[in-house]
Amino acid sequence: MSQASDSSRPRVTDALFIPAEAGRGQMHMQVRGQGFVARAVPLLARLGPQVVGRIVLSADGRGFAGVLERTPREGDRLHVGYADTELQPTSVVYRGGGDEGPGSIIA
């Protein structure tokens, strides 16, 4: 079965990576955008090969937060979608350490 049109897809504008204070390399991420509607079918996301866990949506539809169990690799791209559609690549790419790494707003 083919995909629905893009008009139903959530759109990502940027993301903030937040290292967990007491994590074992765990990192939280706040993703901002539009069109994140709470549905029966859950929202899924992955950064590179790593699945974003514990996703909670904002009721205003402007994003979600999630947890990465380990520090991403440089160049890992965020993919987002609902469980009944293919995850779509977004413009958010993790860039590693330094000023472009954790704590940076990545668009």
């Binding site: 079965m1 083919s2 995909q3 629905a4 049109s5 008009s7 139903s8 903030l16 937040i18 290292p19 967990a20 204070e21 939280h28 991420m29 706040q30 901002r32 539009q34 069109g35 994140f36 509607v37 709470a38 549905r39 029966a40 079918v41 859950p42 899924l44 992955r46 090969p49 790593q50 699945v51 974003v52 866990g53 514990r54 996703i55 909670v56 949506l57 904002s58 009721a59 205003d60 539809g61 937060a65 999630g66 947890v67 169990e69 469980a83 009944d84 559609t85 293919e86 995850l87 000023d99 472009e100 790494g101 954790p102 704590g103 940076s104 707003i105």
Partner: protein, 794 residues
């Protein structure tokens, strides 16, 4: 102290006029001994509480007139004891012999504890009880509508674990030949305050300063806003709010009291699904700030505290159904699971909330100060879930099974409306299955125009693995208790909940509000289902017109009342006539086409479900013989597009060769079929082309079959010319596009063939059926699927 009265007339008058208390007065009735009051005049005693052999005093109203006594089931039928509004007639008092041994009501749970697997027989109810049970029919709707109902909100906090199971944290890595797959993450259970921070991601809310964010966690936000609270007895732990809308029959219009009497009323818990819930406002609080990064790109996190900007009260969206249930004599609570929605829960948290609510209701039933004291029949419980709530009530029934007998509830019905199926692709032992040790019955209601649990699946993206969210069809496939599934043509997902389609219930400017305005399940559907547009029956749908097949919100409510209410009346009130809705003998009041699957009856004997690993035998142990063009096959959507099942069936192609029929032998000891009234089976055919409604309408349908019963040299056959008219409500597939996704579903439907069609002149004796033969009329490229060959006594 018991007051014993010898005159039926005196007993009646004493109770009616308040001289005698129903609970402490009894009738001395000759050699029959002492009789206790079980239902008083005008009370809401459910009809199924009346038993064969109960004594009825009917008072000829007026001074100086007499009272008569009759025996239920011998001199008078139970339905004659109730007025059109469903309450006990005002001239009627019902008694039961004090030393009577437990009747069918108390024994029925045990009698239900048999599944249809392995060919064992399953009994619905005692014949006597089911023979006289009825409940208000459509013609009584006006009277039923006049029955007073009272609804009120309840809210308490209870100590319970929160389970976070929504995480997708255990991916199965990709290999050289397979893409990565996901699995439901390991559930985390906790009730500590600290867990509210550690089990949720940090959420960063923008401020006017782009380098500053207000930070907190979702768990902490729920604590801030009253969904959780600090446990008054242990400051390191939290409690969870149990909130809901309770509706019950009322004594009189405007009354908040239950109808007078002592009868316990069945209890139903309703559970909504995942939906936009709480819009939080975050404000800064004192506390250490945290800086991420350095230099001009550094970001500062400021501790935040949440308040509620807006909340969608999804649990209030089934009041129309609750009021209907109350008029039937059922107490219901629609449970608030917004906390589960806000924590991303898939199933478990919701299921735990169901049992916590039931525990609270039990405490109310035990509390002499409660208006519900002694009035809740917690051995007669129904669980109704919508969307993720459908999965949740199935899990709640499963969790209830594991409880001790002292804390277990008598779940008589699980009803799943447009349920998700999150467990259907997990290891078989992890899949939720509605067996008779979980619930006496299971009903699934699902719409062909569902735009959320749509069954959409992209075979090119198996990387989603578990994310392949199934539909109610899979729940039905796995069930083995008494069951039915109604696939409603034109029904959507959200329209079963009135709040979900109410723009005013949603925050201004939100995407959820926009969907509510169009009463749509998603943005793709919105331009084609919006009731503000003119309907069209043209395909392709012209721009600016809505699909005229999509049912209105009012129609969804009517069908929910009839189907969900009917099922609950059948299983909680013993309204046996309601069974007709689910076996194709009665249409819904709107005449809406539905695809039916069912396995119901006072007695059931499975012949074959084609699920075993030994295809050479049926579940009775008899041998099967298949011609080359018939074979058992697993049908699932990843294998056969448009097939919503996940089940093994018998698949037949065009007949060829000398042997034309599939044959299944009935072993000795199972050949007496006189106890049954019909042979049933599920059947479907493949459609080579589903690309338009016109093409579907023009295709050959329904599939053609011939059934032959064999008894020694005698044979009796029934072909399609008979079977077709016996199952006139069989429906063709509903053509369904969502954007460019073709979601048309080709599903099995249950047919019945009365065994009387095989008897009579030239027929076979039902006392010695040795084999069943099935001849298929499949055309090339259009195989026929058949499953669940079953004997039933309807």
């Amino acid at each position: 102290m018991v007051t014993r009265v010898r005159s039926p007339q005196r007993l009646f008058d004493g109770i009616v006029h308040g001289h005698l208390a129903a609970g402490s007065a009894s009738l001395e009735h000759g050699e029959d001994g002492r009789w206790e009051v079980v239902a008083t005049p005008c009370s809401a005693a459910p009809m199924h509480h009346v038993r064969h052999g109960d004594l009825v005093i009917q008072r000829a109203l007026g001074e100086g007139r007499l009272a008569s006594t009759r025996v239920v089931g011998e001199d008078i039928a139970a339905e004659q004891l109730f007025g059109p509004e469903g309450f006990v007639r005002r001239d009627t008092l019902i008694l039961r012999r004090a030393d009577r041994s437990p009747g069918p009501e108390s024994s029925r749970l045990a009698s239900d504890a048999l599944d249809d697997e392995g060919g064992v027989e399953l009994r619905l109810e005692s014949e006597v009880e089911m023979a006289f049970a009825t409940h208000p029919e459509a013609g009584d709707a006006a009277e039923a509508a006049a029955t007073p109902v009272h609804c009120f909100e309840l809210s308490i906090h209870r100590s319970m674990d929160v389970t976070v199971d929504g995480a997708v944290s255990t991916p199965i890595p990709a290999t050289a030949t397979t893409p990565p797959r996901h699995a439901i993450g390991t559930a985390t259970r906790f009730r500590s305050i600290a867990g509210l921070d550690t089990n949720f991601p940090t959420e960063a809310t923008s401020t006017a300063n782009p380098r500053e964010f207000l930070a907190t966690t979702r768990g902490r936000m729920l604590l801030d806003t009253g969904h959780f609270r600090v446990d008054p007895g242990d400051a390191t732990r939290f409690q969870v709010r149990i909130r809901g809308l309770l509706c019950h029959p009322a004594r009189a219009p405007g009354s908040d009291q239950l109808p007078s009497g002592t009868q316990r009323l069945p209890v139903v818990v309703l559970v909504h699904g995942n939906h936009t819930a709480v819009t939080f406002a975050i404000s800064p609080t004192a506390g250490p700030r945290r800086t991420l990064g350095s230099g001009p790109t550094a970001v500062t996190l400021i501790p935040g505290r949440a308040t509620i900007l807006h909340e969608v009260f999804s649990y209030r969206g089934y009041r129309y159904l609750q009021e209907h249930l109350a008029r039937l004599g059922i107490v219901s609570v629609s449970l608030d699971t917004n906390a589960a929605n806000e924590t991303g829960s898939l199933i478990r948290f919701r299921a735990d909330l169901v049992l916590e609510l039931l525990d609270h209701l039990r405490s109310l039933d035990s509390d002499p100060a409660s208006p519900l004291h002694g009035r809740l029949d917690l051995a007669n419980v129904g669980l109704v879930g919508h969307s993720r709530g459908g999965d949740a009530v199935a899990m709640a029934a499963d969790l209830n099974r594991g409880r001790s007998s002292a804390t277990k509830y008598g779940v008589r019905a699980v009803v799943a409306i447009a349920p998700t199926d999150f467990t259907g692709m997990l290891a078989p032992s992890s899949r939720l299955r509605m067996r008779s040790d979980r619930t006496a019955s299971f009903l699934c209601v699902y719409g062909s125009h569902d735009g959320d649990v749509s069954g959409r699946f992209d075979p090119a993206d198996l990387s989603q693995g578990w994310g392949f969210v199934g539909t109610g069809f899979r729940h039905y496939d796995r069930a083995s208790t008494q069951r039915a599934m109604v696939f409603i043509h034109g029904a959507t997902h959200n329209r079963f909940n009135t709040v979900w389609i109410d723009p005013a219930a949603h925050a201004a400017g939100s995407g959820a509000r926009a969907l509510a305005e169009a009463q749509a399940d998603n943005g793709v559907d919105a331009p084609t289902v919006d009731p503000r547009l003119s309907p069209s029956s043209t395909f392709p749908l012209p721009a600016g017109r809505r699909d005229g097949r999509v049912l209105s919100a009012a129609a969804h409510q009517t069908l929910a009342r009839e189907l969900v209410g009917g099922w609950l009346a059948l299983w909680l009130l013993g309204a046996f006539t309601e069974q007709r809705r689910f076996i194709g003998d009665q249409s819904n009041s709107l005449g809406v086409p539905v695809g039916l699957q069912w396995k119901l009856g006072r007695a059931i004997r499975g012949v074959d479900n084609f699920d075993d690993s030994a295809p050479g035998t049926n579940v009775l142990g008899g041998a099967t013989t298949s011609p080359p063009f018939v074979a058992e096959r697993l049908i699932e959507i990843s294998d056969l597009p448009h097939v919503p099942h996940n089940d093994r069936v018998l698949e037949a192609g065009p007949a060829s060769g000398p042997v034309r029929a599939y044959r299944t032998e009935i072993p000795a000891g199972k050949r007496d079929w006189t106890h049954f009234t019909a042979l049933t089976f599920r059947v479907a055919k493949r459609f080579p082309d589903l690309s338009s409604p016109a093409i579907i309408s023009a295709a050959s349908f329904p599939p053609t079959l011939q059934i032959t019963l064999v008894s020694g040299p005698q044979r009796a056959s029934v072909d399609q010319s008979v079977i077709g008219p016996l199952n006139p409500r069989t429906v063709r597939p509903y053509h369904r596009l969502m954007g460019s996704s073709d979601l048309t579903k080709v599903h099995l439907q249950t047919w019945q063939v009365p065994l009387s069609r095989f008897t009579g002149s030239g027929g076979v004796p039902l006392s010695s059926i040795e084999a069943v033969e099935i001849t298929f009329g499949a055309a090339a490229g259009e195989p026929i699927h058949l499953d669940t060959l079953t004997l039933v006594r309807i």
